[in-house]
């Protein structure tokens, strides 16, 4: 029987597990945390996990998929180290916001620049990240970050996002919006004190410095479409969700590896199920050639 290891037990991982186990494959779900569900609400995850178990999938919880070598994965977890041989690996480890480097934010490496996912956890754990946080991003995740900072006691929350992006939901009225800008750089000695916002069109001229930049960007008329500084005490990176990939040997496309991860902002169960169905089709086509008809042969 062909065996499949699924790394990650969010909506996508669990849906893949249920489908492939039901199709008769030997399925093992490896989850880093001690419980299945990933970032999903508990009730939903419980139902999906039950479906997968009922179909015959095994769960290895509290365990990290460390490395893929083409024949299986090395794992490290509560039961120690191990090797799970597999004919296919599905990477369903979810998504994360783009990093500072991926967003091209230069300047000082000061404290107060925090990935959005970490920001949510820290705020829930009682850390107010800034009185005047700037949130980079416009998606549902960025809006959630903005709401959380307001609820946690931030005095003034600002959101900024590049031209062409639209706000994916209801932004609280208190939030100041700078549409059509990217965060070019941050500056500060110990903690971040200033962010330079630059209109996207200017970026193509290749300026990332805080050179001829308006001192205060509050007055829209003064800005006149050029770069400007704003005073901030935190920058929360919540833009441009990217697939989270941390299994060595399964970072880029290669034979035997199938990626099933959110691209962009659609986090609905419907989108997850559609993606899982697509991934399973590719896996089955690869493992049982001739028995399933599919169109297109991409490993995506």
């Amino acid at each position: 029987m062909s065996s499949v290891v699924i790394a990650g037990s969010g909506q996508r991982g669990l849906a893949c597990a249920a489908k492939l186990a039901a199709a008769g494959l030997d399925v093992t779900v490896v989850e880093r945390l001690p419980h299945p569900g990933g970032q999903e609400p508990e009730r939903e995850a419980g139902r999906l996990a039950r479906d997968a178990r009922r179909a015959g999938a095994r769960f290895v919880l509290g365990t990290l998929a460390v490395q893929y070598d083409g024949a299986g994965i090395d794992v490290l977890g509560v039961d120690g180290t191990g090797f799970l041989p597999c004919d296919a690996l599905i990477v369903a480890t979810g998504s994360r916001p783009a990093t500072r480097a991926e967003l091209g934010i230069t300047g000082d490496r000061c404290a107060g620049v925090v990935p959005g996912s970490a920001a949510l956890h820290l705020t829930q754990a009682g850390v107010l990240l800034g009185h005047r946080p700037l949130i980079a991003g416009s998606g549902a995740f960025a809006i959630h970050c903005a709401q959380m900072q307001l609820a946690a006691g931030a005095a003034e929350v600002t959101m900024t996002f590049p031209a062409g992006m639209t706000v994916a939901g209801e932004v609280p009225a208190e939030v100041r919006l700078f549409a059509g800008y990217r965060v070019a750089s941050v500056h500060g000695s110990a903690r971040v004190e200033v962010a330079v916002l630059r209109p996207e069109v200017e970026h193509s001229q290749g300026h990332g410095n805080a050179g001829d930049v308006l001192e205060d960007g509050r007055d829209e008329a003064q800005r006149g479409g050029g770069p400007f500084r704003i005073t901030v005490d935190a920058l929360i990176l919540a833009a441009d969700m990217r697939p989270m990939r941390n299994i060595e040997g399964a970072i880029s496309e290669r034979g035997g590896v199938f990626f099933c991860q959110p691209c962009g902002e659609d986090r609905s169960e419907q989108a997850a199920l559609a993606a899982a169905t697509e991934t399973c089709r590719h896996v089955l086509a690869a493992l049982r050639p001739g028995r399933v008809s599919i169109r297109g042969a991409s490993t995506r």
Binding site: G62, V78, C110, A111, V127, A152, A190, G206
Partner: protein, 480 residues
């Protein structure tokens, strides 16, 4: 901070790679040694953000003190790194002639290397790509230097410091030199915010601050200029395509931009060289970083910027005179170890031996310590362990905190309880690489902060990233 027993045999000013290597060497003797540093942790300035190259010395002026000390250090890395638990790999360098004019320098460089006792080989363009398949096929030739290696220079500095501390050397952080009292032509007393120390000998290993320290001690007047280098760090997924260091043909001023595999399997591109008016500006800029990419692509085509996981800059201490390592002519109980611009890591073992000799000449006469521990009881990180089962022998060793860098809770525990423990989030990252991987802490920063707060105490929002004031948050959050 409680005042230690203030009479010392040797006070070292500066806990970078040079000061820590000297402390480690001196800890072999039955001497009272202390290290003070203005920053909150060991390896906070030039030692934190350099190339990570363990150089062979092949390009250094033959006969110079720098060449002598770097060449003396180079063969010893395998042994030292094993004892200190420091990642090291002798991967070799290929210096690439990009033009016919570059290639004309090759015979002279080969002669210089031979004079320094470093084995090198001149390469034809065909041999360049045979030795370094990732290098540009359009070179005009090159030089292969098999003895060059890559080292985790932060862990090396920390390893020196931990071994010194385990052998009785005291480290005092956030204790900048405030002033000194002299009697006759000797420094007799040194003051910091928290301490008054009475050392028999003082070693100035203050790196970027060595000029200020020298003046405060009443010693020679010289100037250290901060030379900024900007760097790009690329993912291991790209790093595996970079088996060797690629450099341009070195000039007198600089080695130029390099493509460097790191001891951790990632890849570094840089550095630039820009002399600053101040010693604090560690900012990066988009233009300069774009230039780094452009230059590196002349050495290695196909560098894909999508693999960049971090950009940063470091300041190296540049001065008119390099390797000012000598007894001060004005205060003979002060040993200068200053002006060590770019080979501080590579020369650290030789520098420490040389400073010890200078101290002996100056009258330090302590016997070797009977109980000297020559190696660290280092926990081998999971990602570096040959036998992963050993690393996973404990419950903490089976709990991965940072999934990108495969850092376990055992490693984070050790970083916070070692002989020279982390006192900040960046201190944990320097020792373990947690939060330093491809997701840059998006998955583990909160977990690392939570663990750190258990050890460091105080409110979670006050946890320092690095220096005082660099707090994680600004206040306690309302319940959300």
């Amino acid at each position: 901070m409680s005042n230690p027993d203030s009479d010392l045999d040797v006070l070292i000013i500066g806990a970078g790679v040079v000061g820590s290597a000297i402390a480690c060497r001196l800890s072999e003797f039955d001497a009272k040694v202390a290290v003070i540093d203005r920053r909150h942790d060991i390896a906070e300035e030039a030692s934190k953000s350099n190339s990570g190259i363990a150089a062979s010395g092949w390009t250094l002026p033959a006969g110079s003190l720098e060449a002598q000390l770097v060449c003396a250090s180079s063969p010893r890395w395998e042994d030292v790194c094993r004892r200190l638990g420091v990642p090291f790999r002798r991967c070799g360098t290929v210096a690439i002639a990009r033009t016919a004019e570059d290639a004309e320098q090759i015979p002279q460089l080969v002669r210089n290397a031979e004079a320094n006792g470093v084995k090198v080989r001149a390469l034809t363009p065909g041999e360049v790509v045979a030795v370094a398949p990732h290098a540009t096929p359009d070179s005009a030739g090159g030089v292969e230097v098999p003895a060059e290696g890559v080292i985790d220079s932060i862990r090396l500095t920390i390893g020196y410091g931990e071994l010194a501390a385990a052998n009785g050397v005291h480290f005092y952080f956030a204790e900048p030199l405030l002033g000194a009292t002299t009697a006759g032509d000797e420094v007799v007393e040194v003051r910091t915010p928290g301490m008054v120390l009475r050392p028999r000998f003082v070693v100035n290993a203050a790196g970027l601050g060595a000029d200020t320290v020298s003046r405060a001690l009443g010693c020679e007047d010289f100037e250290i200029i901060a030379r900024r280098g900007e760097w790009l760090l690329l993912d291991r997924e790209f790093g595996r395509r970079v088996p060797r260091i690629l450099t341009m043909m070195p000039t007198e001023r600089t080695h130029g931009i390099m493509v460097i595999p790191t001891a951790h399997g990632t890849c570094l591109l840089g550095p630039t060289a820009e002399d600053l008016d101040n010693k604090h500006d560690r900012s990066t800029s988009a233009d300069v970083l774009a230039g780094v990419l452009r230059e590196c692509r002349t050495l290695m085509p196909g560098i894909d910027e999508r693999y960049v996981i971090k950009s940063f800059s470091g300041l190296r201490p540049h001065s008119e005179r390099t390797y000012r390592i000598e007894r001060s002519a004005l205060k003979p109980n002060v040993i200068q170890a200053a002006g060590i611009r770019s080979t501080g890591v590579s020369g650290s073992l030789g520098i420490a031996d040389h400073v010890l000799e200078l101290l002996h000449q100056a009258g330090l006469d302590r016997p070797p310590k009977a109980s000297f521990a020559s190696g660290l009881d280092a926990l081998l990180p999971f990602s570096e362990a040959l036998d992963c089962r050993l690393a996973a022998a404990t419950a903490l060793g089976r709990t991965v905190v940072c999934a990108c860098e495969k850092v376990t809770a055992a490693e984070i525990h050790r970083s916070l309880t070692s002989p020279l423990p982390a006192r900040s989030i960046s201190g944990i990252a320097k020792r373990t690489h947690a939060t330093w991987g491809r997701c840059q802490g998006s998955a583990c920063l909160s977990g690392v902060s939570f663990i750190a707060s258990l050890y460091l105490g105080g409110q979670a929002w006050e946890l320092p990233f690095g220096e005082p004031g660099s707090t994680l948050g600004v206040a306690r959050a309302r319940n959300v």
